[in-house]
Structures are given as structure tokens and as C-alpha cells.
Symmetry: C2
């Protein structure tokens, strides 16, 4: 088998995991949970075995030796497969197993700790996972600090220092903006007319909108879960989920817009290269840019609702007497909330800045696990002006650390920055911008297909942004967007 | 690894196939069909590799050498694993691959042939599959005729001659009964009050009834498909499906009762033995007995509807003025239809007798593929009194042959016979019978759990029936049931 055939086989195994994981979140009967873990770990072991095997190494070497230098896509694919192989084989099997076991225990402990708002229950597990993360960083190696090695797994060839510089340049303006937005919003914050917004009507509207922005229901679907997500079960099989609140139809709708943004990226990847880097998403920060672009730049725009608000009014009669201006102000409301996943555009990144700083200190050893709650609360008060009521609403709110996902949070803000930069660049085409003003997003999607999706993972994230927009990643477009929205 | 650990690993692979297969029938986006086949065939290849490996053979031999003769369950497990291993390894890999490819082509050709009512389109494919079936039979070996070898895969240690004798003893009485039932039904056949019977109300009633007969929704669920089925995705994960007709709520309900019967068997198998013969269903004829028992003996009984008809009337207001006697006559209607899957209890087995005769002649070479339509139509006229309008409603109606499933049909009638014999034996307990008269089926389910489910595949089907009922398989109880219902 060639390395490309092996890579496709690896993708087939991963896709079987994805089907089973999707079912686990959507339709699994409660008593079946435990066995599901057995199915997933069998598949994960086969995938790992294959991708770290001698056969894989030899096939990769053969392909590298035979590759003509002028075939850029081939070279990019081999370079990325080499990178993935090196990362995978640098970790001994027992370390992977230790992490998987520790994370499984940590998730339970975290859930319990969060319920009781008691950090001490989670702390020893976090300590173990932190040590494992440090060990992984040491084995992978890094140019400046351990965080580099972890970030590289989510956002390849991105240095922690560069992210920190980007974030620091954002911080003062973000704080000023957030304070303004929250004050304005508090002064006139209309609430949505009372529900119920029936579930079936929400589903119809969401499907109409998802199809209108280009989500292909022949190659995807929408189901219901506690936490919205998007997962790909095969080259033409993208599954979105959302959750429903009958008192607020925008909750499920923005869930769908966000996940459909991820889904459009997945549906736009080159199908024939499924399983190869050139047919895969490049990074979390680019993935998140696609979801944020459709959720916030498209979905929260006035032009979008000029078209869709009358449709929503047909679905939900109680909107009849509710002026669109009020609805937009409802969508653009801002407040200082302790919870990241409930945060609005004006305050979201402050949550990320806080986590990035804390994770970086955890990894370089300057912050002990026991001191996290205090550090969190102090940083939070500094940014938000108040202290979370308890650790449940503070450092225990996110599952990421319990899953061993240190170094992940930064990619959310990178996604916001990328989304704004891509959207602004796309709209420099006056025809495309005019179409957007008519809520016709076909030209925008076509631009994203060409400028982002078609590249798969052949370009580094920063190069992809530079290539697509003409400038290196910068916070300018994002700040301009927030200023336009909130000031 | 011991052979038991390997068997469990084999079951894990099979369960992953089951999840992916279930998703394919329930929620798969249309464009994703092709890749799904890739996922399934990768898993099937891993399962086959494992179960025919040298490691498996050695582990089985080790276990056989070490097994103490007094451990009856262990001995039964090893005996059945040996049987399965021998059957699997007697077929060369290329034969399995040829069958899979031929059946894949045949399914397309069959669908096309059925659409056009043109047997000639399907005939060459059926010829290939028949030759493969004969080759398999030769490789497996058989005591009397090739059909034995195929039947053994569905209904182990059951001879074709014994089935033929059973069927021949049924034939005259079945024909007399069917003729009477159809005549009586034609004289007074009430139709159900007009729909719509809303889908949501059907789903509520079906779930209520499935739970009431003991289906555990913590370890299972009901979804919607074109053709109802039951599949097991893991030791506590049984999925039923049904289809909905808003003009007739009994269509989805009897789909659920039938599949829930299969599901109760699966949920009743010893969980700790998942993947071993002692934790597996024994045969199609026993599986079908469980579905038929709940569908026909329970679900079409007067006692059942004494309890449930008032509930159905609450769900469907149009039943208010429709007397229960009329409803029962509607349920008990009988007619001569050309289509097996639409057949009622009174005529169903005639369809099976016809198929059994034809398959047996195909396999022993006395009926050429080209002559099947004529043979079918003649046998059909002889049994039903008329000739099907075309081959679509004749020999092209079932998918089984196109899937390579020769020797399968007989198990449907064995299921009917077994259901009646088990139900009659259970009701010899006066307390259990009295509970059934009150539509309390907990004692009946408990009896089935002990007498059938708990044995898994440790007893041969005929021995299981003898053990559970005190008499060897016989048509007596089934005929008595049909006579009581229709005469």
C-alpha cells in the first residue's frame, strides 16, 4: 500500500469513530454509554497502530524519495504527513494510554467538582494532566516555551509569543469596547417577546436559513444535542447539532449558524483528497473563523435580518408587533457574564485572554495548580470588574483541561480575528459586498471555497490568512468590526 | 488473548458495523451512501481476518484442551465457536469477496428488474449467486442435499427434510384455513375510520405499548425507516425501527410490536456473555418466534385490545364511534395478496411454502433460473387461486436472493410455529394465562426470559423448543391458534 492508501484507510477508521461518537451524543440510550467507550477505544487503537507502524514509516519514506519537487500539493501532503507522523511517534504508547486513562478519571472528577463548586476535588487530576502535558511538550520539543508544543497541535507553526503579542495588542481596546457595549446595552436592552417558539417552527426556520447560506442537506443534517457541535462522518456526510429553547428561538438558530459555518468548511474541502492533508481542515483557528464568520459577521448583520426577520415573523406570530430595531438590539446585547459559552461578541475574548495567561503560567511552572482559583478570580476581577460567585462559575466552568486540552482556548480568539480579517477581505469585492447587502451569500461562500476551503491543510494557518487577505494575521479588522457594531 | 477475549473483540467490531449500518438506514444523508460501504467493508474485513486467523485457531484449541467437561456452558460456547470457525475457514477469501461483489451488483440489478417487472434483467445475477451458493454448500458439506448446508447457517442442526415434513403436514390445513378466513373476512371486513392518525400520536402510543410489554428504553430506542427492523448496537443498545402511515395507525404499531419482540429477545440475552454464543441469539427461527409471539399472539388478541383500545381511542378521537368488535375484525382481516410482506396470519405461510419449494429445486438443480417465473406463477395459482399480475408482484418481490440469502425464507414459518408452541406452553401456567387476560405480560416475558432468552445459543433451536415446551417442534399449537382465530 502507498502512504496515500494508508492515509485513506486511517481516515476510514477515524470516520467510523466519528459515526459512533455522533450517535453517542445524539441517540445513544443511557444504559449503552459504557460499551460505547469500548467501541471507540478499539477503533482509536487501530488508527494509532496504523499511523505509527513501520509500514507507515516505510511507505512515507518511499513517497518522500519519489516525490518530484515541482508537485506542490504532493509536497505539502508529504510534509504534513511527516509532521503528524513525527508528533505521533514521539509519544510512547504508555504515555498515550496514561493520558487517556487520566483524562477519563479527570472528566468524572471535574463533573463532580463543578457540581460541588469544589476545586480541590479536581486539583489532583489537573495536576496529573498538567504533568502529562509537560511531558508531551518535552518530547515534542519547542522553540521557546512548553506552550508552543501544545499550541502547535491545534495551530501549527504558530508561536505562543506571536499569539501573546496579538492578544496584548487587543487587550486595552477590547476592554474599552466591552465596557462601552455593556453600558449601552444596559441602558436599552429589549427582551424578546414571550415564547413559546415551538420547536418544530424553529427547526423549519433553521433548516431554511442553513440551506440558504449554502449548507448541503444532501451531504449533511441537523440533530439535537445538549451542546451544539459539528462532526464529519465521511467525505459527504457533515452532521450539525443544536439545542432548543422554546422561550428564545435565536438560541438554536445561532447554534445552527455557528455549526453550519464549520460544516460549510468541511463540505468545501476537496472531496477527492479525503484523508489527506490537502482534503483536511488546517487548524482550529481557521475552523473557528468559518463558524464565527457565518454566526457573527453574517448572522448578526442588519442586512441578514432585513431579509430573514419577515420570514421569522411568519414562523413566530408573537414577533409581529416587535420592531426589527428592537430585535437587532436584542441580538447585539452585551453583558459581563462569568460564563464563557454565554458571552457575547463584545466580551468573549476577555474570557480567552484570561485562560491563555493562566494556561501559559501553568505550563511554564509559574502558577501552581492549587493557586489557579485565586489567580483566575483576580484576573477575572481585573477584566470584568467583579469576582465569580464560585469556582463553578470560575475556573471549573470548562471541560477542556479535564480532557487534556491545554493550549486549546487561544484558538477561539484566533478564530474571531481570522473571521473578521477574511470577511473584510472578501467584501472588498463590491459585487460580493452588494450581494451580502441583499442577503445573497453565494458569492461570499464561493470566495471562501476558493480562498480557504480549497487549500485544505496545505498552507500554514498564518500563510492561509496572508494568502487569502493580502496581509498577515492582525487584529485590525476584528477591532473595526467590534467598533462598528458596538460604538 | 484467550479465545473469549478475541470473541469479545470480534463482537466489538461487529457492533461498530451495526452502529454504522443503523445510521445508514435511519439518518444517512443521501450523498454519503457510497463512502458508507467503504466503512462497512473495512470493518467486515477486520472481523473476518480476526475470526479466521491462526491466533484465533490456536486460542480456540488451547481453550478446548483446557475445558473441564462438566462446565456445560463453557463446552457449549466452545462447541459453537468451533462450528462457526469451521464454517468461516471452509470458505476461501476469494469466494467471500466474489459473493460480496456479486451480491452488490445483484442488488442493483434486482431493484432495476423489479422496477421494470423484467426477470431477465435479474436472471444472470441470480445465476451467479446460485452458483456461489452451491459452491458454498459443497465446501461446507451436507448430509443429504445442498439446501441443508445453507439452512444450517440460519437454523443450525436443522435438516431440510425435517422442515419439508413439517411444512407438508401444515399444507392442507393451512390451505383450508386460509380459504375460510379469506371468505369470512370478505363477507364482513370493516375498514378503519379515516385518518389522519397523526404521526406524533402514533409515536406516543407505540412507545407506551412497547414499554408496557417490557421493552427497556434505557437500553434501546425506536426510529423511522422505510422497512422496519431491529438491530443490536451493543450489549445494552437495541434499536427498533418502524414506518408510519397516517391513514392507518396499526401499520406502525404492529411494526413496533414485531420488532420489539426481536428487541426483547436481544435485551434478554445474558449481557455478561456478550460476544459469546451463550450471549447471542441462537437462530432466525427462534428470533422470529419472539417477534411473532408479541405481534400476533399478544398484539392481535382480544385481551390486549380490551386494555389498549380505550387508550388508542384517547390518542385518536376518530376511533370514538368505532366499536372494538369492528376494530378486531379489521385486525383479523385475511385476503389472498400476491405480496408476502403484506400477508396476514392466515395466508403468510403459503408464501413461505412456495419459496421453500422453489429454493430447494434451484439448489438441487431441478429448477433452472430461467424457469423460476413460470414455476413461481404456477405454484402461486395452485396455492392462492390466481396468478400475480407480473414478476414484480411475483418472483421479484423479495430482496433475499439478491443478497445471497438462499435458504432463509423457511425460518419465517419456523418462527410462526415456534411462537405458537412457546406461547401455548407458557399459558399452561394458569397465573400467567390469567395475567395475559388482564393485558399484564410481565409473567409471560419472565417465562420467555428463563425459557428462551437466558439460553443464548447454547442449545440447538429444536432442543430449545423441546426444553421450553416439553415437546419437539410441531405444527399443532400453530394450527390450533389459527383455527381459534379464523374458524
Amino acid at each position: 500500500m502507498t502512504i496515500f492508501e494508508m492515509a485513506r484507510e486511517h481516515a476510514v477508521i477515524g470516520s467510523a469513530e466519528a459515526v459512533i461518537g455522533w450517535d453517542q451524543e445524539t441517540y445513544l440510550p443511557p444504559a449503552a454509554t459504557q460499551f460505547r467507550a469500548t467501541q471507540l477505544s478499539w477503533l482509536a487503537a487501530r488508527a494509532h497502530e496504523l499511523a505509527t507502524s513501520d509500514a507507515w514509516r516505510r511507505a512515507l519514506e518511499d513517497a518522500e524519495a519519489a516525490a518530484p519537487g515541482h508537485d506542490l500539493k504532493l509536497c505539502a501532503n508529504l510534509r504534513e504527513m511527516r509532521r503528524t507522523f513525527e508528533r505521533a511517534t514521539k509519544l510512547p504508547v504508555d504515555l498515550v494510554a496514561r493520558e487517556s486513562a487520566a483524562s477519563s478519571l479527570a472528566k468524572h472528577a471535574w463533573a463532580e467538582a463543578r457540581k460541588r463548586a469544589e476545586f480541590a476535588t479536581f486539583a489532583p487530576h489537573l495536576q496529573v494532566l498538567l504533568e502529562i502535558a509537560r511531558e508531551k511538550a518535552e518530547r515534542w520539543g519547542y522553540p521557546n516555551e512548553p506552550y508552543d508544543a501544545l499550541l502547535d497541535g491545534y495551530e501549527r507553526n504558530t508561536s505562543t509569543a506571536a499569539v501573546a503579542a496579538l492578544f496584548e495588542s487587543l487587550r486595552p481596546e477590547l476592554r474599552r469596547l466591552a465596557a462601552c457595549a455593556v453600558a449601552v446595552s444596559a441602558a436599552h436592552a429589549p427582551s424578546l417577546p414571550a415564547g413559546p417558539y415551538p420547536l418544530a417552527a424553529q427547526q423549519r426556520l433553521n433548516a431554511q436559513i442553513a440551506a440558504a447560506i449554502g449548507f448541503d442537506f444532501h451531504a449533511g443534517r441537523i440533530d439535537t444535542t445538549t451542546h451544539p457541535f459539528c462532526t464529519t462522518l465521511g467525505p459527504r456526510d457533515v452532521r450539525l447539532t443544536t439545542r432548543y429553547d422554546e422561550s428564545d428561538f435565536t438560541s438554536s438558530l445561532f447554534g445552527v449558524l455557528h455549526e453550519a459555518g464549520h460544516g460549510l468548511y468541511e463540505q468545501g474541502l476537496p472531496c477527492d483528497d479525503y484523508g489527506l492533508p490537502s482534503g483536511s481542515p488546517v487548524s482550529l483557528g481557521i475552523h473557528e473563523s468559518q463558524s464565527r464568520l457565518w454566526e457573527n459577521h453574517v448572522g448578526r448583520s442588519r442586512a441578514f435580518w432585513n431579509h430573514w426577520y419577515p420570514v421569522a415573523q411568519q414562523h413566530f406570530p408573537q414577533l409581529a408587533g416587535f420592531p426589527m430595531e428592537n430585535f437587532l438590539r436584542f441580538l447585539w446585547r452585551a453583558e459581563f457574564s462569568p460564563i464563557r459559552v454565554e458571552a457575547d461578541e463584545a466580551t468573549y475574548d476577555l474570557h480567552i485572554l484570561l485562560r491563555f495567561d493562566i494556561e501559559r503560567q501553568m505550563l511554564d511552572g509559574s502558577l501552581a495548580v492549587a493557586d489557579i482559583p485565586t489567580a483566575w478570580n483576580e484576573a477575572f476581577r481585573e477584566l470584568f470588574g467583579f469576582t465569580p460567585e464560585d469556582d463553578r462559575r470560575g475556573c471549573l466552568q470548562d471541560i477542556h483541561w479535564a480532557m487534556g486540552g491545554l493550549g486549546y482556548f487561544a484558538t477561539y480568539s484566533l478564530g474571531n480575528l481570522n473571521a473578521a480579517q477574511l470577511h473584510a477581505a472578501a467584501r472588498q469585492d463590491p459585487h460580493l459586498a452588494a450581494a451580502c447587502e441583499q442577503a445573497n451569500y453565494a458569492p461570499l461562500l464561493a470566495w471562501l471555497r476558493t480562498s480557504v476551503h480549497a487549500h485544505g491543510a496545505t498552507l500554514d494557518p498564518a500563510d492561509l490568512i496572508t494568502h487569502a487577505t493580502g496581509t498577515p494575521p492582525s487584529p485590525a479588522a476584528y477591532l473595526a468590526h467590534l467598533q462598528a457594531r458596538y460604538l
